[in-house]
């Protein structure tokens, strides 16, 4: 009991060192700390619970097998997120049809004279139809954009953390995030343009 509490109070760094000395309890505590985060990240990237569970298992199996080679140059959380992101990326690439390189894509991201649908409260805008439109917009993102978008905007990691996890420059993270946001915004703009009175979509009486 006392030992269990001691493990719970340990830092990630101390747990990693103990796990590297084959302390199974220490690795178990790392799993306990990160399993929900890993699952959540995988689900946001893949939008499929079965695939997310596969990534969860794959991530911790790889972590278990590779813990001794973990050098500690980054934090454990960055390392585990990197394994998760790579595992999810492989599944996304298998699932999606080949697309043009995102860096070569010459696509207009910014519509001209976009209607200003934004000033209403979030709760009024967030109808079931909007959620569906948003889910479709996220699913339509190229995999490299989706990785950045999920880590930066949904997990709310910093640009520097995302850059480290994905082995990108901070400038590349910012660029991909900007384009991902615009793609989602543009899909939502189309969605709201199709709604007769989007700000009255919820709770309003005819």
């Amino acid at each position: 009991m006392v030992e269990e509490r001691a493990v719970r109070d340990e830092s990630d760094e101390a747990l990693v060192q103990r796990a590297q000395r084959d302390d199974e309890r220490a690795f178990g505590e790392l799993v306990h700390r990160y399993e929900s985060k890993v699952y959540s990240l995988a689900l946001k990237m893949l939008r499929n619970p079965e695939d997310a569970e596969d990534v969860l298992q794959d991530t911790f199996l790889r972590a278990y097998r590779g813990i001794k080679s973990f050098q500690g140059n980054s934090t454990f959380s960055t390392w585990i997120y990197r394994i998760t992101a790579n595992s999810a990326l492989m599944r996304l690439r298998k699932r999606q049809l080949p697309t043009v390189s995102i860096d070569d894509a010459d696509e207009r991201e910014v519509p001209i004279n976009i209607a200003d649908w934004a000033p209403g409260p979030v709760e009024q805008m967030l109808s079931q139809e909007t959620q569906t439109a948003m889910a479709e917009a996220i699913e339509s993102l190229p995999v490299e954009f989706r990785q950045v978008f999920v880590l930066r905007d949904l997990e709310e990691l910093s640009n520097a953390e995302v850059a480290e996890i994905l082995d990108l420059s901070v400038a590349a993270v910012k660029s991909r995030l900007h384009r991902a946001r615009l793609k989602i915004r543009n899909r939502l703009a189309t969605h709201f343009a199709e709604q007769p009175k989007p700000r009255r979509a919820m709770g309003a009486q005819p």
Binding site: Y64, I112, N113, M125, L126, R181
Partner: protein, 89 residues
């Protein structure tokens, strides 16, 4: 005064408050007088608010149980491998 193109290119960093103070001031000035860039700013900001409102389901308990089983199996494999290599060596 910044051009619309410059404003649009920096919009994401502006939303993230990741710009130098003089650029932020210039952005505010432009958006204050340009309705199209104002709409770009408003809709991008609302997009971010909307998807951050959109909650992800929690990890179901069976996922945890299955993960534990998978890791237990891996530990057994590892121990079996260690004991067989130990007996051979």
């Amino acid at each position: 005064m910044m051009t619309c193109k410059e404003v649009l290119e920096s919009l994401s960093e502006f939303v993230d408050e990741d710009l130098k103070a003089d650029v932020v001031q210039a952005m505010h000035q432009h958006i204050g007088v340009c309705s199209e860039c104002r709409a770009e700013f408003d809709t991008l900001t609302m997009t971010i608010k909307l998807y951050r409102h959109y909650e992800t389901p929690q990890m179901p308990a069976p996922c945890h149980d299955r993960l534990v089983k998978v890791l237990e199996l891996e530990k057994m494999k590892k121990k079996a491998g260690q004991s067989s290599s130990g007996s051979e060596g």
